[in-house]
Symmetry: C2
Subunit: 215 residues, 2 copies
DNA sequence: GTCTATACAGGGATAGAC
DNA sequence: GTCTATCCCTGTATAGAC
């Protein structure tokens, strides 16, 4: 609706970009309804009217933010998969990278999660869906390949395994701040250790194979 | 702030209860800010002013809703654990019951998840924390016991295992509606099958133990 | 306990000068 | 492109009759 990325210098305080950035932070932190255009304008250092000059409506602004968020997310994920090693190693890398990405851009992650939680409003549902869907499909493909090579059990639904891997990461993002206060949780500040532990469990299971039934 | 549960008959349309119920549904669906007192009043079949008669403010109403939500949730979880069988069976029951509970009261679940996602507003954070914290602690205890008996590997952090189990369920709740549209996901309408599959993976791992490297 | 009527603050959005 | 000033609506909350 207005030309962007024409002169690449001064990306931050050139109005539109500043507004988008401010809005992104606020929407991620508080949610759509809790954010007023006035707040966005203040944070961006422009006037309220100026926001409406660049974006047709508050909703349009939100969609723009969501769009760039989704793009960023999928792009980051694309970089992860290309590497060598056993499939198990590759999966581990994927998991670690995925978690890193989630944590690196908390804004984006929060925004996407929040959007996924809203069933009522159709605001940007497809965008969020597509964001996670892409990464998910890639992961499933990787798992299927690992099954075909004989490295993984073939009696498991690869979609289910993928889901478990993603679930572990997403839940870490959501719950680590909460669980930090509990005992028995030593990993809430160590995403890498967490990722390792998770992959260990997923690969080998939690059952004790040594056959001893007591100590 | 006003006496409740005094006469147990007519629980629904006695004003306060109706308001609480309506508010619970709306808050869960749309979030705090997106819900207006007028909407609540309409859905409850009372006047706007009447809502303020029963609850001091919109925030007070929200807290009341959240409180009863948390209570309900923890109570449900308490029922699950008491049963016999191997520890593995018990864990499986726990996981299945937990997921059932999440799905049974989608209102409550959504509400708690949403609250957990807000780091900014301190509205009812402790309540939500305590809700999940309780179930989590119970689960960790169960796992530790299983380790002591020799049934589970002792080189794993039980908190991490617990987290993975909860993560699987929570993520199912969050993502099943989204992932339904994807290929390779056959379980999005079958929570019980999902739960079984997850426990299978957690117990035995995903690696192929048969040693064959191709087909 | 329930209503109607109202106060008043803040929301999104537009007009028009610069 | 950016501002000030303004419009109109809806938000929360209160007053006071029934």
């Amino acid at each position: 609706m207005s030309q962007v990325a024409q002169s690449t210098r001064e990306p931050l305080s050139n109005g539109e970009a500043a507004i988008r950035a401010a809005a992104g932070a606020l929407f991620a932190e508080k949610g759509f309804e809790a954010v007023s255009v006035r707040m966005v304008a203040e944070k961006a250092g422009v006037s309220k009217a100026n926001v409406f000059h660049h974006f047709a409506s508050k909703e349009g602004l939100y969609l723009a933010v969501l769009r760039s968020a989704a793009e960023k997310s999928t792009h980051l994920l694309g970089e992860v998969a290309k590497a060598s090693g056993t499939h198990a190693e590759q999966l581990g890398r994927f998991a670690r990278g995925h978690l890193e990405n989630l944590l690196e851009d908390k804004h984006v992650t929060r925004l996407l999660l929040r959007e996924a939680l809203e069933h009522g409003s159709e605001r940007g549902r497809e965008l969020a869906d597509q964001g996670v869907g892409d990464g998910f499909t890639r992961l499933v493909a990787m798992l299927t390949e690992a099954q075909r090579s004989g490295e993984l059990r073939t009696d498991l639904n690869p979609g289910l395994v993928a889901m478990l891997m993603v679930a572990a990461n997403v839940f870490y993002f959501e719950a680590a701040p909460v669980l930090r206060h509990l005992p028995d949780v030593g990993f809430s500040d160590d995403p890498q250790g967490y990722s390792e532990g998770v992959m260990n469990i997923l690969l080998h299971g939690i059952l004790n194979k040594k056959g001893n039934t007591n100590e």
